[in-house]
């Protein structure tokens, strides 16, 4: 397996999207790139088109204990080795562009992040509940109470 040089990927992203991204070196095993949330689709387009990263393993969202006003979302790709994209959203009314038009397999992952973290995905019809009951009315379970109660 050949790990694609992360600098090559960063340069290509800059060339094609004009977006200057930097690496996030804190995740073991996966190369990780921090990107602006509004460039998500464009960056994924580069990863798929130029580097064959078609396989999206998962989408992870989390709220760090010391940054309750922010939400972090990660897209984990894999092709021989892992490559993750990381972006930061405001915890209040977080919004992301849906990628199901380019990766239909992201549907369930987006729905899970939507119901568990309250992220709105634009560009798709709706995000019906995936795991929570239809009558769940207590807010996204993973969002800390201080945000839910505002």
């Amino acid at each position: 397996m050949d790990r694609i040089d992360i600098e090559t990927i960063l340069n290509k992203i800059q060339l094609q999207t004009g977006c200057v991204c930097e690496t996030y070196a804190h995740i073991e095993n996966d190369d990780t790139i921090r990107i602006p949330a509004d460039q998500l689709q464009a960056v994924i387009g580069v990863l798929m088109g130029d580097f064959d990263y078609y396989h999206l393993s998962a989408i992870t969202a989390q709220q760090r204990e010391d940054q309750t006003d922010e939400l972090e979302v990660m897209y984990h790709f894999w092709k021989d080795t892992g490559l993750s994209l990381i972006m930061t959203l405001p915890a209040k009314l977080p919004q992301l562009t849906s990628i199901i038009s380019i990766i239909p397999g992201a549907d369930f992952y987006e729905r899970e992040v939507a119901e568990m973290f309250g992220v709105t995905f634009t560009g798709r019809a709706e995000t019906p509940p995936l795991l929570l009951p239809d009558d769940w009315d207590q807010g996204p379970p993973f969002i800390r109470d201080e945000v839910n109660n505002e």
Partner: protein, 360 residues
Amino acid sequence: MNKISIPIGPQHPLLKEPLSMKIDISGERVLGGSLRLGYVHRGIERLAQQRSYTQDIYLIERICGICSHIHTTTFCHAVEALLGIEAPPRAHYIRALMCELERIHSHLLWLGILAKHVGLDTIFMHVWHDREMALDIMEGISGGRISHAANQIGGVRFDLDKEKVAMIRSTIAKLHTQVEGVLDVVENEPTLRARTKGVAPISADLIKKYCVVGPVARASGVDMDLRRDDPLPPYDQLDFPVVTYPDGDAWARTMVRAEETRTSLTLIETILQEMPDGPVTTRAPRRVPKGEVIIRSEAPRGELLYYLRSDGSDSPARLKIRTPTLAALSLLPQQLSAIHVADIPVVLAGVDLCVACADR
């Protein structure tokens, strides 16, 4: 002809686990379908944040009643990576031994269900009888048939003495003979072939678009197996073939799992032969330093991903688990379109759903 919507589940005699489906039909043709998960959602990712790392091993083991061991193995690898420790080589081999036994028992269980769905009850009974041998081995070495509690952070909980290795060898040899007999029937039985050949084919392109993994992907010619492509130890030391079929239909999905069962039986013999001597645990600190890690492994149903973040406390700050069934389920509505009503069970069985894994 009019369109009729048939609700199936969440509680239904056809289903082994709770899953709600709505299937639209017109006459004998299926037009499409949709599904709803969540009936066995236990909030395990959230619960894991409220327990210690050691307690989490036992929680995570209960995500699934089939592939429980690969869950704890992946989790322990993640914690060990953050701790900066490595389990001893012998522990890796014991973990892999359990993983392969789990794959055999999962695939045989699945094969029995498929046979039952197509009306071949004799194969179902033979296969499930043979599967008991894999469970007997796991019980014999760990004490548990389904929840083995084999893993601990830094290694495994038990060693294998000469008697146990001899027991595994003799049972595997017997199982191998039995399985060969059944698989010979599976491969050559005209009814099974007629019921699966050309049913619900999935192209490699669709597999890639829907990010489907494991035997379902390999049955469509997508050559991906993390044991070879992104191996956790000791798979980097082991040589084994990755089974792929180009056809992409229910027949190919049957053949991939049948051949993988053979491969796992051979792999167990290799593991026992190459297993080094030495300790099975290493000392692990209780407190996990701050850090983040992603571990991928090959569960019986395909790629399993764990993301773990520690904030330096006794419990994980975030544990994300993506199970292979969740990826496979997203393609199910597509698979259900343009098939015959009588093929619905074959298509459902072909995916090898594990709803408990998908719901977590």
